[in-house]
């Protein structure tokens, strides 16, 4: 994904109303009136959010009879998630390993003079 589009995707996702709209569209296509219902917001305000989402490539819009339906486009979201996922995976795994190392070091610290089990058994 180009850096510009990635910025547009993250910019679009930075707003809680727009995230809620995407969550609603994950359940199925909807028109502006349906999208406005859960929010205390006018339809023009919702339309402005839809324009931002459309520019970021996160939704597409099409007409059906008199209604204009919004449709979730999943691919840019997948790419945006994958973008951070590799970096996140690096740190998640490193820090999980550090958790284990710190636990091991603290065990040793707590029991400095205790002989290990095998010595006890054989001795």
């Amino acid at each position: 994904m180009a850096a510009d589009q990635l910025s547009a995707v993250f910019g679009a996702l930075a707003d809680p109303t727009r995230r809620a709209i995407l969550a609603r569209l994950a359940e199925g296509d909807a028109n502006v009136a349906e999208l406005a219902t859960p929010f205390e917001m006018s339809q023009p305000a919702i339309s402005r959010h839809l324009k931002v989402l459309e520019r970021a490539g996160l939704i597409s819009r099409r007409r059906r009879a008199t209604a204009r339906l919004s449709h979730l486009e999943a691919q840019p979201l997948r790419e945006a998630t994958a973008w951070l996922a590799r970096y996140r995976a690096y740190w998640d795994e490193s820090y999980d390993r550090l958790d284990a190392l710190l636990a091991e070091l603290q065990d040793k610290r707590d029991e400095p003079d205790e002989p290990d089990e095998e010595d006890e058994r054989t001795g």
Binding site: A74, L84, R86, L98, D99, L105
Partner: protein, 163 residues
Amino acid sequence: MATTAKTQIIADPGVQRIVITRAFAAPRDLVYRAYTDPELLVQWLGPRRLTLTVERLDVRDGGTWRYIHRDSDGTEAGFHGVFHGTPSPDNMVRTFEYEGAPGHVSLETATFEERDGKTLVRTNAVFQSVEDRDAMIQSGMESGVNEGMERLDELLARMAAAS
């Protein structure tokens, strides 16, 4: 929105910075040692499938450091930099450069804060440009790995944490 991720990574769009925050169940002197003692560092930094070699880790004002990640094919990725100011758990400042992109340097500040027996490590990395920051994230610190965490709720949770 709830997130179960233990590591918080904030990378706001259009900002040349990454902030990574993580709590560890250990006193801060021990966590700091794990960051500054090469014998300990090689036991945790990076994914298990990569071997870490610490060529230098001279933890003092002006001291240099160099790490190499090596995968099973022998592919290497080197990183190096310089410590600035006397490093301590309150303030560990260093430069960071991936040797695959010489001249693109970031400035890292790490702090280790003890709270209720836990240690909060916060790493703030500032890059020369948004493009450099994005390239670092895109590289994932290594090549060819995709852990496949392609889940919408995780992305949204991170965005919620960042906003």
